[in-house]
Symmetry: C2
Subunit: 291 residues, 2 copies
């Protein structure tokens, strides 16, 4: 990781740490919430929010609530994905999954509470910045659509029930554009909208994020095949029964596909000029995960 | 039920039906979502939103998205409460619980999706009405606090882990003020805020809703003891292992307590005058559930 990402990740982790210290959640939901907030995520989605905001002139500190909200949403979806009725995972971010440590009931309630709180963070951040072009309802609608049945939740539902399906590139692309792509696009769009981005630039940023999200998911598929739980911090080989890009195109084909998607994402932000340097570096980092 | 409640419930059911018909959710999450939206709820929380708005001069049709949002949130919390890792219930609103019909994974994802969408409804309703006194962030913060670890979710977590605790009135009141009271208060507050209520009246409405919510929960405790699944449409006797007001005060004591709370709620809305007639009738209906 380079300096930009290390510093932005530290900003987000600092915000989440401060947030966790003043939650005011009652026992017994306080500890699972605190553990989920303290876990060692890469913070890619939150950094994306900050980087897009910075590309249109907004200081990163001003976007921390929204960036943290994207990480709360992502953490929430991981907790749910890991449940026994879904992926039944044992390990996440190098530690036991939340339901293994605190029980299913508290894991589910924590996941829902994190998603719930993200709306408080996004709307209060909107109130602080008051972007002239983008009313709160439009910003919130982006998040709602990215999380709900048209986004992550819909993609997860389709994915869980796709096992044994005939391999089909379009289905897989649909699943991933919802499961990963939608929140990448929302994280980018929210950062831009809160920073009062104009419509044309917003479209470019969304194309960037959509392609980057898909590339990120494909590199995840590759890592699931070529990594160990120790290096990855989560279960590997979980996708054996599931449709993946690696199954469809092989490891090398998946690598090539993710590299092409990264090129497409870079082209989409070319008009943003030098201020978009962090977005370019982020795209390169995604590609280099599976180099 | 009297005419007012029949007509308002029909408005909310009509909105939810129309909403369910144009969801655009992918298979296999479409059917559990549609079933949960079509289930025969009393719609007390949504009616509360409409009734408070009407008490300050807003036509009920204008508040339907927010009223529906309160019902989505409530439905979401019921789906979660019924899960095997929580109350492990078989029957809800006269039908098999959602996880029994569609599996735990789709039940959980549906519950999260309903809560998620409620934020879209509240914020778009705010954008339509643009209440001068209440920015979107303040309205959304009410909902976030009512749902999250300071509200329903926190109350549920404490409640699930309170079995075998020493009976204690304060603990019980805390659980119920969070589990039921918080959403009652938010449903009332949101209706008022979107209708541009002033601060003094809002405080009265909140006191009303807080006491009414507690009375409603106590009558639920009574019904759990004195009803059959056939009349109630959900499992009964589920509270045998749990702290309830009936255990603390007996059936007659619980009835008396709920009647007192209804009196307190009525006193709080006295300054609203004749326009608050629906709120008065709603309070009477709650008391009469266990007459």
């Amino acid at each position: 990781m380079n300096d930009y990402f290390t510093s932005r990740r530290a900003l987000i982790d600092g915000f989440l740490q401060e947030f966790a210290s003043r939650l005011g959640a009652p026992h017994p939901i306080d500890r699972p919430l605190q553990r989920s907030l303290a876990s060692a995520g890469k913070r890619v989605r939150g950094i994306l929010t900050l980087a897009v905001g910075e590309a249109v002139g907004c200081r990163p500190e001003k976007l921390l609530p929204a960036a943290a909200a994207m990480e709360l949403i992502h953490t929430s979806s991981l907790i749910l994905d890991d449940l026994p009725s879904m992926d039944d995972a044992q390990l996440r971010r190098g530690a036991p999954t939340l339901h293994r440590e605190f029980g299913e009931d508290l894991a589910i309630l924590s996941a829902v509470a994190l998603l719930n709180y993200s709306y408080g963070l996004v709307s209060s951040n909107h109130a602080t910045l008051s972007p002239r072009r983008w009313p709160a309802s439009q910003v919130i609608a982006r998040v709602v659509d990215a999380v709900g049945w048209t986004g992550t939740i819909g993609g997860e539902a389709v994915d869980l029930h796709s096992e044994g399906s005939t391999l089909d590139f379009d289905t897989l692309e649909l699943i991933h554009s919802r499961k990963t792509g939608a929140l990448f696009v929302a994280a980018a769009a929210v950062g831009g909208m809160l920073a009062n981005i104009d419509s044309a630039r917003l479209r470019g940023v969304e194309t960037y994020a959509k392609n980057l999200g898909l590339a990120f998911q494909i590199t995840d598929d590759v890592l699931d095949v070529v990594s160990t739980p120790e290096t990855l911090g989560k279960d590997v080989g979980k996708d054996a029964q599931r449709l993946t890009f690696v199954k469809l195109a092989g490891v090398d084909g998946a690598r090539k596909l993710s590299a092409e998607l990264v090129e497409t994402s870079l082209a989409a932000i070319a008009p943003l000029g030098p201020a978009a340097a962090p977005l370019r570096e982020l795209a390169t980092l995604v590609r280099d995960r599976v180099k």
